[in-house]
């Protein structure tokens, strides 16, 4: 029968159709490993035919992706087969930047590098700067760098989203990124700020899909309405850099209406902790502490001071204490004073934010409605850290996620803090329906190490490089005020730069400030192109010579897997394998793949062997560690401790019983978390699909920072060694310590020129100040905000070598809002010259109506240098694709004080990518984009003309 609507000419002849094989064999073998097209680290099923990779799909059992894959993940096969894959170690033969190389053997390459590094280590280990991009093995690379003894190590976090990470950890002991997630199953209202894609890319999409299926409301706050914001039920097209003000205004409305979770605030946060309000005190503005150093609250039961964590204590939210003529009040007093102020009234902020006052009020009302009117309780008893048993877990179905849109501004740290304060005021962190941490988080800032930078020639560094400072005493500055690190992280300029400041390394090294270095050793960061600010100038710095004709940065070693722009600037290139050809470890020691209800880690393993003379970089580092005789890499007799990275993954122990991989530990493989190394461990991972999970017990699922059951479980699985409950910090003491120093308190004093700015920006309660660039880029001359977004189907620069993905994004226009489009009378196919104080670019434009009227944007990192990535020199990526990076300087323009301030957040050093302001002018369409650096020679054979890849019909 036809369908009811079927109407068609009938065919008198019997229908004939070919017989199909509907059950062809899918593959000979499936090997399960972890995707590497981005940092989401989904589980993949790699189907092999005749030993070759035939097809990649998502692993259904995997905690991260539950079987789904993104566009990049499914196109992994084309990454694995890319013509841009490096083939053998390379030694530079032409000038830096030319791309001229000769292939050499691994022994030669490692011999050259080891000899150079050995010399430096004996005399001045800080002359090695080792920076590692979007490294997924940071706990290992940092350990190597620590053993080597240089203070100059970091990964990419400083230019990526350290504001988000640091604000989260300092405020609530955990952050967004992929370190936490909304309670997708229970949330009713979800706000997403400044996210185009993010690291947790599949989980966010899966979560949004579930919200949509349930009819929960999604509000997207973003100047641009694509992707997640396109499907949001409501779009707030905010003006860039003003989210902090918008959020504080929401807080203003909620406070005024009393729509806050007072009980949560009193018991679980520092809102009830008393502040030292004595202006003469050395600890003025810090928590009032007892002799044991414990922050003090007023216990409602007694009306007297009590330690915050005292057994049975019931902290009073509005507590105060009069002592020696001074009234010491709880943090909440300060919160109320700060945010009830009329400067945060919706009417006051509306114009700046580009959001109407009514809208702000309505969103505040929706937050209140969801948090309180739609509140519910989960019937799950639990016991808090004060020993109090609760029969249920109250839920607050409001959740939030945010990423670089709010963090990649120079006011980002405080904006991110403001957002967390909003969540906390609603009681919407770690409660059912709200935002939940993933192990190893929650973990307060105080439980993280502090930064270390003491250099002793021939010796390891005195401790881990990166960490969390708690005040001026923790900075890495010498007595003369100069920086210990080449990137000037942890100095007065950017004191809380918890992830280092990779974006400053090349310009500082080129300037020899704070000191010259010898070897720049980079791993998977395209610093000559898309991961750098001021790209054209950085390319010059990398190739710049001093009066003697020597390179200003004397020696550059680089590990990449592909023929990137950065490769052309290296003296020695160490070719890595593709992700399907090596071991890797996604460890609870750095960035694991946990879920809110389970701890999880994973491996990569060689599902195929490389067909080129390439080696996994981590194994190369092991080899270098042995050649250099680094402690931990060689034993007392100088013999190698680990054969390669796989051996390290299984046998290394960071603390007794705790190693890179938590699964199947102990001789018999029965232990999870803690246990002796198990020689069969990797086999167990492979059998299990490449990952390991440990479910968090039901009573420990929520309220984790305060939940005894969670704390005990975390100790048991080795996340920490003793329970460490803590209070959320509305009041950020470390900030107050820096602010106090700027006020002239204490032994450590910041340089004079920084004091005013420090006082204004380092307020212990979140504040909003205009992006610092706005004070430099004249808003009249440069009236337009310019942003980039991650395309979901492209990963930074890597995607362009992928035959499938580059057809989706092979070039990028600059999108202009209707107002500007019409003002300059642009038409389809037109080009514009875009200027900032740092430079100009000439690029194609396109029109977009769903865009903030003062903002232009483009997709990130589509533009390529000619000759790179094994692409044709006429490839659209090079002729029509472009980077905004040429317009973004790492320093702000000089402002009359003779100083050039860093284009970063003054607190964390986060690169302020999105502070960019530009002007726009219509120009005649040129033949290709400008700037147009000369082509680089390609160290790999030319790419094939066609791709029609099939292993077996």
């Amino acid at each position: 029968m036809l369908g009811p609507e079927g109407h068609r000419r009938t065919d008198p002849m019997p229908h004939r159709q070919p017989a199909l094989d509907l059950s062809p064999p899918v593959s000979d073998e499936v090997r399960k490993t972890t995707c590497y097209m981005c940092a989401c680290r989904c589980g993949i099923d790699v189907h092999l035919k005749e030993g070759k990779v035939a097809y990649i799909e998502g692993n259904r059992d995997h905690p991260v992706n539950r079987g789904v894959l993104c566009a990049k993940g499914s196109a992994g096969i084309m990454q694995h087969l890319s013509p841009a894959r490096l083939r053998a170690p390379l030694r530079r033969t032409g000038p830096r930047g030319s791309g001229q190389f000769e292939e050499i053997t691994w022994d030669e390459a490692l011999g050259i590098v080891a000899e150079r590094l050995a010399g430096l280590r004996r005399t001045a280990p800080e002359k090695l700067a080792f920076f590692t991009g979007r490294d997924q093995s940071q706990s290992f690379t940092s350990w190597w760098a620590q053993a080597y003894g240089t203070p100059n190590y970091a990964a990419h976090g400083g230019f990526c989203s350290v504001n988000m990470a640091a604000a989260g950890i300092y405020t609530m002991g955990g952050a967004f990124w992929e370190f936490g997630q909304p309670d997708w199953e229970r949330t009713r209202l979800f706000l997403i700020f400044g996210v185009a894609e993010d690291h947790d890319s599949n989980p966010i999409k899966m979560g949004l899909g579930r919200l949509k299926a349930r009819g929960a409301k999604v509000i997207g706050v973003n100047p641009i309405r694509t992707g997640y914001n396109a499907i949001a039920d409501e779009w707030v097209g905010i003006t860039p850099g003003t989210d902090g003000l918008f959020i504080l205004s929401l807080i203003h409305c909620l406070l005024k209406a009393g729509k806050i979770d007072a009980d949560y605030l009193a018991r679980l946060t520092d809102a009830s902790v008393l502040l030292d309000e004595d202006p003469r005190s050395e600890t003025h503005g810090l928590y009032l502490r007892d002799a044991d150093g414990k922050p003090q609250v007023i216990d409602r039961r007694t009306g007297h001071l009590a330690p915050w964590d005292g057994e049975g204590v019931e902290p009073r939210l509005t507590g105060s204490l009069r002592r020696a003529g001074t009234t010491h009040r709880s943090v909440f007093h300060r919160v109320a004073e700060a945010y009830l102020d009329a400067r945060y009234a919706p009417e006051t902020v509306a114009a700046t934010c580009g959001v109407t006052a009514e809208r702000i009020r309505r969103i505040a009302a929706e937050l209140a409605h969801a948090a309180f009117d739609q509140a519910f309780e989960v019937a799950q008893p639990w016991t808090d850290f004060r020993g109090k048993r609760h029969e249920t877990m109250p839920g607050r179905p409001v959740s939030v996620h945010a990423m670089r849109g709010i963090s990649a501004h120079s006011n980002g740290f405080q904006t991110c803090r403001a957002l967390h304060v909003l969540q906390i005021l609603l009681g919407a962190v770690e409660t059912p329906g709200s935002f939940r941490f993933k192990p190893p988080y929650p973990k307060p800032a105080t439980a993280h190490p502090k930064p270390h930078g003491k250099v002793r020639p021939g010796e390891p560094l005195d401790g881990p490089h990166l960490g969390f400072v708690h005040g001026p005493a923790d900075l890495l500055v010498n007595d003369d005020g100069t920086a210990r690190r080449i990137d000037k992280a942890f100095t007065w300029e950017n004191p809380m730069s918890a992830h280092g400041m990779m974006h400053m390394v090349i310009s500082n090294a080129h300037a020899g400030d704070p000191y010259p270095i010898d070897t720049l050793f980079l791993y998977m960061a395209n610093m000559a192109w898309n991961s750098t600010m001021n790209t054209s100038a950085v390319m010059e710095m990398l190739a710049d010579k001093d009066a003697d004709g020597d390179y200003k940065i004397p020696f550059i070693v680089y590990s990449d897997a592909y023929s990137s722009e950065m490769v052309a600037y290296a003296d020695i290139v160490l070719p890595d394998t593709t992700y399907l050809e090596r071991h890797d470890c996604i460890s609870l020691l750095d960035r694991p793949i946990s879920e809110a209800d389970a701890a999880a880690d994973a491996i990569r393993w060689p599902v195929v062997e490389p067909d080129r003379d390439v080696r996994g970089f981590q194994s190369v580092l092991v080899d270098l560690g042995v050649r250099l005789g680094l402690p931990g890499f060689v034993d007392a007799e100088g013999k190698a401790v680990y054969a390669d990275y796989a051996d390290y993954m299984v046998n290394h122990q960071r603390r007794p019983g705790v190693g890179p991989l938590a699964g199947w530990r102990g001789e018999d493989g029965a232990a999870g978390g803690r246990g002796a190394p198990n020689p069969e461990q990797l086999e167990k991972y492979k059998e299990n699909g490449g990952f390991w999970t440990a479910h968090i017990p039901e009573e420990a699922q929520y309220y984790k920072p305060w939940n005894r059951a969670y704390q005990d479980w975390a100790v048991e699985v080795g996340l920490f060694d003793a329970p460490q409950p803590y209070l959320f910090s509305l009041w950020c003491e470390p900030l107050r310590r820096f602010q106090a120093a700027a006020e002239g308190k204490g032994r450590h004093r910041p340089p004079e020129h920084l004091r005013a700015q420090m006082q204004a920006t380092m307020t212990p309660l979140p504040t909003w100040y205009a992006p610092l660039g706005d004070g430099h880029a004249d808003p009249v001359e440069y009236p337009v905000h310019a942003l980039t977004q991650r395309p979901m189907a492209m990963y930074h620069s890597w995607g362009s070598q992928n035959a499938w993905l580059r057809q989706i994004h092979g070039r990028n226009p600059l999108y202009l809002p209707t107002a500007l489009w019409e003002k300059y009378r642009f038409q389809e196919g037109d080009w514009a010259c875009v200027r900032s104080p740092a430079g100009e670019i000439t690029v194609p434009v396109a029109h977009m109506a769903a865009l903030n009227p003062h903002t232009v944007w483009t997709w990130n990192a589509i533009g390529k240098r000619r000759g790179a990535w094994a692409l044709d020199k006429g490839a659209p990526e090079a002729t029509k694709g472009f980077l905004l990076n040429h317009l973004i300087h790492e320093l702000l323009p000089e402002r009359g004080d003779g100083l050039r301030w860093s284009n970063s957040d003054p607190i964390t050093g986060q690169a302020a990518w999105f502070d960019l302001r530009v002007s726009i002018e219509k120009v005649r369409a040129p033949r290709h984009v400008y700037p147009d650096p000369p082509p680089q020679a390609s160290p790999v054979p030319p790419a094939p003309a066609r791709v029609a890849q099939k292993v077996r019909p």
């Binding site: 894959l69 309405r225 396109a230 499907i231 009980d263 003309a945 292993v951």
Partner: protein
Amino acid sequence: MTALPNRVERKLGLVIDLDTCVGCHACVTACKGWNTENYGAPLGDADAYGADPVGAFLNRIHSFEVTPDEGPAQVVHFPKSCLHCDDAPCVTVCPTGASYKRSEDGIVLVNESDCIGCGLCAWACPYGAREQDPVEKVMKKCTLCVDRIYNDNLPEVDRVPACVRTCPAGARHFGDLSDPDSDVSRLVAERDGMDLMPEQGTAPVNKYLPPRPKDAELDILAPLLEPVAETPRGLLGWLDRALEKL
């Protein structure tokens, strides 16, 4: 063969939720991957690393912008593959019989070994659902993953099209649209599923769920923000009173 079957036993197809699709292109490359290694010739790419790459894809994501009379402009990501039309003009124009519609499930397929690459079927399709392979020069189109959905070598849960299996947002649904009780038919009924270009008379099987209304102004919430206090002192006093009641 070129004639359409007099009856189809089932109408397998996709239901695509425009309210949920984030435009990630995951379904595009998953489709390319599966159909490269499986049904027919691999999906080729000409000038793959060159100035004008042209590849065959069976599924593509367009993005449209809607400017409503009230409220801000919207972006709608719009996936499109073959709609497996009931009255498929691509089939009847085919001179060789390479194009056909299966009577058991309504899937429209190209028998590549019969295809002369005349392109007529692609001309006849209003939706742009057919692309000639630039390397193999035969007509390519969505197979509805006919070699997955019945494949005994796959576990039962995986017997769905590659694009549906991979869609991270869950915006793609697969099922029998001739069965009014199927999940997909229910979705279509609940969400006013629509046909693309109904005036072309193709009677598409695939349906699209339109985006839900956006940016609605709700004022019923205003009372929620009734102030309890205008000053910090007032707020603290109110809080004390409120907390005592707890």
